[in-house]
């Protein structure tokens, strides 16, 4: 594992990957486990009593169907939030964290291009998030029988999970880029958290306010869940938008990191 910057990044993250993956999978399954208690006429009637606007804002319009339920629980808030925080941790640490700790000094005195450090760390982040996604997918698949949401199907679960990984990767790349441009961990975290919250609000609240309607189109969250992959399957265009944005962020990270002075 200590053969390259990529291998060492994964080696360093091995405990984190395991811990976060288990946490995301556990939360996913626990949440999904409540589905049978939602799937009954009384609950459906109770939900209908809520104002439609509120349900829309909370993403709970279709809470009693399996796809709707998972889309507003495991794949609605907690799953993405955990995945985005995990991705942010990896992205911010990749350059800014190492730089603040003074660990880039010796590494960059070795015959390793700066762009290669950024790209290899981004690749390690992608692998880490893919592992977490894979574990979540398997856990959800196993839980789908007992928790009565089999009709979603393995294909749609996989589609939603892939799009979830792409969403997280985008925010990880944002942390990487902000850290590579500034060398500041705090600032990079601020950017990740700020953009994640604002774009989340843009996706859920934007459409309810006329002058902000456009904002949903620039929200990564829209390209994650707007096409309802749990109900409609893999949304290739949405996924491509997320992946392309991530790529652009990594390119920005490379350019920024190559240009500037490295702190002691």
């Amino acid at each position: 594992m200590l053969r390259s910057v990529f291998g060492k990044s994964l080696w360093d993250q091995r405990r984190g990957i395991l811990g976060w993956s288990l946490a995301v999978a556990a939360v996913g399954v626990l949440y999904a486990g409540f589905y049978p208690s939602m799937n009954n006429p009384e609950m459906a009637a109770a939900i209908r009593a809520f104002p439609q606007g509120l349900l829309e804002a909370l993403g709970m319009t279709d809470i009693t169907s399996p796809a709707g339920y998972l889309g507003s629980t495991t794949y609605g808030i907690l799953g993405p939030v955990l995945m985005v925080i995990f991705a942010g941790t990896l992205g911010v640490r990749a350059i800014a964290g190492d730089e603040e700790a003074g660990r880039l000094d010796v590494l960059l005195a070795h015959p390793v291009e700066r762009w290669a450090v950024v790209v290899q760390r981004a690749a390690a982040m992608a692998v880490a998030l893919a592992v977490a996604g894979a574990l979540l997918f398997v856990a959800m698949l196993v839980a789908s029988g007992p928790a009565q949401f089999e009709e979603v199907g393995a294909g749609n679960l996989a589609a939603a999970t892939v799009q979830l990984v792409l969403l997280a990767l985008l925010f990880g790349a944002l942390g990487l880029a902000a850290g590579a441009l500034t060398g500041s961990r705090g600032l990079a975290w601020g950017v990740v958290a700020g953009v994640a919250v604002l774009t989340y609000l843009a996706n859920t609240m934007g459409p309810t306010v006329d002058v902000l309607a456009w904002s949903q189109d620039v929200s990564p969250w829209f390209y994650y869940s707007g096409g309802r992959p749990l109900a409609n399957g893999f949304q290739a265009v949405d996924a491509a938008v997320l992946a392309a944005t991530t790529l652009v962020l990594v390119v920005i990270a490379v350019i920024g990191f190559r240009r500037r002075d490295i702190a002691v």
Partner: protein, 305 residues
């Protein structure tokens, strides 16, 4: 002779404070070059600019004839670097740390790596954060040397080390030199540079004030001697001794500055009844003050070279 490091008006302004200004230097193949200056004079800035970790504000530097900003990786392949503060991966063991950097370089001779570890008595089994400062520096030195680099860049390699390990460092540096490698070493200790280097550049406030053979610095190396006599002060006996200057006598106490060996002073003092004898090597700051006074640095740089 081939020049290994060549800088032309190399200047780096660092945020609000000045780093280095108009540094012109040539370090030739096979020499050990000392970069001497008090703390904050710009030594680390110089080394980090040579590494292309920071980019010059103006001027340029070439190592092995390659511009440092153009192909730093080609340069890094052929040099070894030991920073003053060796911060690394806390959770890796010393052995893993050495292994990782060997892998990044590729083609490291394992037998030589092992030989270095044996010589420096590196214990590779502990986690990096558990090592003392001295042991971290030893691992850093193995990392810097294991690929037999043509050039060694050492930033204050012995600061904070105990004297025994310091001696080992000196012998490793002498050995590297004997094998024809070039050494560029920063330091704030005059005697250390005297012991290990052939030539020295003295930097103060970011500017070179002098570049010379180490031998020529001997006149800068001096002691401050203070002798307390039980009887009257025999001032006249000391006035004519070689190397003695700035003689001041007051009640029972004689103070002087001694350049070069202090033996004549000790012999003269031994003929009298003493209550105390103090000899002190001044800090580099004091030496600088004595040598260059406090005139503006710009002027000194002009005659310094």
């Amino acid at each position: 002779m081939t020049s290994i490091i060549e800088t032309e008006q190399l200047t780096k302004f660092y945020g609000t404070h000045r780093g280095i200004v108009d540094v012109d230097l040539t370090v030739t193949e096979g020499e050990a070059f000392g970069f001497l200056g008090p703390n904050g004079a710009g030594k680390t800035t110089m080394i980090r600019t040579l590494l292309d970790h920071i980019r010059p504000t103006r001027g340029r530097a070439r190592i092995f004839g390659i511009d440092t900003t153009e192909d730093p990786v080609a340069i890094h392949r052929r040099l070894g670097y030991l920073p003053g503060e060796f911060a690394l991966y806390d959770k890796l063991t010393g052995g893993q740390t050495i292994e990782y950097f060997a892998n990044l370089r590729g083609g490291v001779d394992r037998a030589y790596q092992q030989e270095l570890m044996d010589r420096l008595e590196v214990d590779p089994s502990r986690r990096f954060r558990e090592y003392s400062k001295g042991n971290k520096q030893k691992i850093g030195l193995v990392v810097a040397l294991q690929h037999r680099p043509e050039l060694l860049l050492l930033d204050e390699p012995t600061s904070g080390l105990d004297p025994l390990i310091q001696q080992e460092f000196y012998s490793v540096i002498r050995e590297a030199k004997a094998e024809g490698r070039t050494v560029f070493m920063s330091s704030h200790i005059l005697s250390e540079v005297e012991r290990t280097c052939d030539r020295v550049a003295i930097i103060r406030d970011g500017r070179l004030v002098r570049v010379d053979r180490v031998g020529a610095l001997r006149d800068m190396a001096h002691h401050t001697v203070e002798i307390r006599f039980t009887g009257a002060v025999p001032e006249a006996e000391f006035r004519s001794l070689p190397g003695v200057s700035d003689l001041v006598a007051d009640d029972h106490v004689l103070r002087m500055r001694v350049t070069g060996g202090i033996t004549p002073v000790v012999q003269a003092a031994a003929r009298h009844e003493l209550s105390d004898f103090v000899s002190r090597e001044p800090t580099l700051e004091e030496t600088f003050l004595a040598e260059y006074g406090q005139e503006p640095v710009a002027e000194e740089a002009a005659h310094g070279r």
